[in-house]
């Protein structure tokens, strides 16, 4: 177990009648890259602002390195943040922006200048040190903002959707800049985003929030393959969610009777439903096999094609079974060429029981 740097202990944040964060419990380790992800209004930004001291928890405790942070003023913390709007000081040059934190700590002019230049250099910005902020591009501003936050060598860096204003190709580049930095520095990154690709690409662990509550915490691949509940399953990627009643169970398999058919699902240790219980399982769109002839499989359902979505090497097909349940299937683009989409009336969807994942929460 890694050392805990940051602990949320039953943290509640209310704004009047609105509860932004409900009873949050979360531990973040030293040197961990944690992404907090969720739709807008889920409380992720409020969580980050509480870490920076810009909001006070209504109840509960936030501890940083064992110290209770609830009443520590923002400027007395060492929790620098990279803002969504970047919030660079427009009347200062890139270098003076970076120097700001050191200046507030009373470091003398030559020392802080050297240090600021060092950090600008580290982020590949040394030639822009004396430039006005307004003359820099989005990606360059981003690097200045990073240098400004890291120059004081903090134990933790907070990032509030820092890449949301950048072009797609720049996002990919900045992602590797961020992950490399985090690894080299070995400090904790808490990264708030609504983008699944950003969170999954960079984070060691992902926290999914919904309506002020933590819906799931785990490594990206666990969250992707084994969502804990319906919200996560819907929020994360292309999942087919099927609900029904448990018909029987044996040898680690659960058989579920759903309106669209009878399916068998691998049982998990945490989810052991009884016969007759309501049960929901997910089957990820990329694990569904699409065929023209009826396959021999434990889970098989005929469906008709409704529409397709082409996004490059992968195509998502939307199909509908006889009872109206929608299915999403992801197929490689080159694979699709072998299928005759136009004249085929009925496709067969199939998957092994081990690919399906039973949800623990409803």
């Amino acid at each position: 177990m890694i050392d805990q740097l940051l602990v949320f202990d039953k943290v509640v944040k209310r704004f009047g009648d609105f509860t932004a964060v409900k009873e949050m419990n979360l531990s973040i380790g030293k040197g961990e890259f944690v992404a907090i992800m969720g739709p807008s209004g889920c409380g992720k930004t409020t969580t980050l602002r509480m870490l920076a001291g810009l909001e006070q928890p209504t109840r509960g405790e936030i501890r940083l390195d064992g110290r209770v942070m609830n009443d520590v003023r923002p400027h007395e913390r060492d929790t620098p943040m990279v803002w969504q709007s970047l919030a660079l000081f427009p009347f200062l040059t890139a270098r003076k922006n970076v120097e700001f934190g050191l200046r507030m700590r009373g470091m003398d002019a030559t020392k802080r200048r050297d240090k600021a230049l060092l950090w600008l250099d580290r982020l590949g910005m040394s030639e822009f040190a004396e430039r006005d902020i307004s003359t820099l591009s989005g990606g360059q501003k981003q690097r200045v903002a990073l240098a400004r936050s890291l120059v004081t060598e903090p134990p933790i860096l907070l990032l509030d959707e820092p890449l949301s204003a950048l072009d797609a190709h720049l996002v990919i580049r900045m992602q590797s800049v961020l992950t490399n930095l985090q690894r080299e520095l070995g400090i904790t990154f808490v990264y708030v985003t609504h983008s699944q690709s950003e969170a999954f690409a960079m984070a060691d662990r992902v926290v999914i929030m919904s309506q002020g509550e933590v819906a799931q915490v785990g490594e990206p691949k666990d969250i992707y393959r084994a969502p804990a509940n319906r919200f996560v399953a819907e929020f994360v990627g292309r999942n087919n969610i099927i609900s029904g009643k448990v018909k029987s169970q044996s040898k680690g398999k659960v058989v579920i009777d759903a309106p669209s058919g009878t399916f068998s699902v691998a049982a998990t240790k945490s989810a052991v439903p009884k016969t007759g219980d309501d049960a929901t399982f997910v089957i990820s769109a990329d694990l569904v096999k699409l065929s023209v002839t009826k396959p021999k499989s434990e889970n098989m359902i005929p469906a008709t094609l409704i529409s397709e979505e082409f996004i490059g090497s992968v195509v998502t097909l939307f199909l509908e079974s006889a009872d109206g349940q929608e299915f999403k299937v992801q197929v490689q683009e080159r694979e699709l060429a072998t299928l005759d989409l136009k004249s085929t009336k009925t496709f067969y969807l199939s998957w092994p029981a081990s690919s399906a994942h039973l949800l623990t929460g409803a």
Partner: protein
């Protein structure tokens, strides 16, 4: 297409005519101030600076100019400070009766000047403070503070709402953030507001006339000259007042409209 063109030309001519109406009298005043003849008639006499010489030789004019400068500088400083504080409190905080608070602050320019002047006079004589230079300063501060507030408030609107928080986040206390972030950000608006308040105070006549007593400001003196007789000295003083005010307004405009185009390459410190 034709219609649009016609409209454009109409608007251009319209603006030209407006400027003509506003500036022709002033231009005449300036022209006659260099005219050797006593009465403003055409054809003009010879070019002469005699009226300026007379004005400059008059100690009363110097005294009035000095009073005007002291009043406008002090009033603009006080009004800008008040304006900044109210603009910032409006920007940063929300509290009960904020609407009433703002209405109260923005009230002075809506009151007819003459009523405000009478009220000021009544109040100052009640507390035994009429006829003092500082009573004009107080009156002018009240009159011009709303302008300062409006200009600075507009600038604060352009400030990223996270800019101050970013400063705290980097270790600046609230006072440091004010000094190192909010004030530098508002600097163009503050300079602009100060210039504009100074210009308004320098030109203002009604309140100054009621409140000033023996400490005449330049506009008050001009009125006293013209009530006596037609005196070309007025043209000379008027030109001076016009140039001063225009300079202040132009400076204000430059500071307010230019963005921070500061080529800071090579700047150190």
């Amino acid at each position: 297409m034709m219609l649009e063109r016609g409209l454009t030309w109409f608007l251009r001519i319209y603006i030209g005519v407006i400027f003509l109406f506003i500036f022709t009298p002033i231009a005449f005043s300036i022209v006659f101030s260099f005219n050797s003849q006593r009465f403003p008639t055409v054809p003009l006499g010879e070019f002469s600076t005699q009226w300026y010489d007379t004005v400059l030789a008059d100690p009363d004019v110097w005294q009035a100019a000095l009073t005007s400068i002291i009043v406008s500088v002090c009033a603009s400083a006080i009004a800008t400070l008040l304006g900044f504080c109210t603009a910032y409190s409006d920007y940063r905080y929300s509290f009960r009766f904020k609407g009433a608070y703002l209405a109260l602050i923005l009230l002075p320019p809506t009151i007819p000047l003459i009523i405000m002047a009478l009220a000021m006079l009544a109040w100052f004589s009640k507390i035994g403070a009429s006829g003092q230079v500082w009573s004009i300063i107080v009156a002018h501060s009240v009159l011009t503070a709303p302008f300062a507030m409006a200009i600075i408030r507009l600038r604060l609107n352009q400030m990223d709402e996270n800019l101050e928080a970013a400063a705290w986040n980097l270790g600046a206390s609230e006072w440091s953030a004010m000094r190192h972030v909010v004030l530098p950000f508002c600097k163009p608006a503050i300079v602009s507001a100060a210039c504009l308040c100074a210009a308004v105070s320098f030109d203002e006549f009604a309140i100054a006339w009621f409140v000033s007593g023996l400490n005449k400001t330049v506009p008050v003196m001009i009125l006293e000259i013209v009530t006596g007789n037609i005196d070309p000295r007025v043209n000379a003083i008027g030109s001076f007042v016009f140039v001063t005010s225009m300079t202040l307004v132009v400076v204000a405009q430059i500071f307010f409209s230019t963005k921070q185009i500061r080529k800071s390459a090579g700047e150190t410190g």
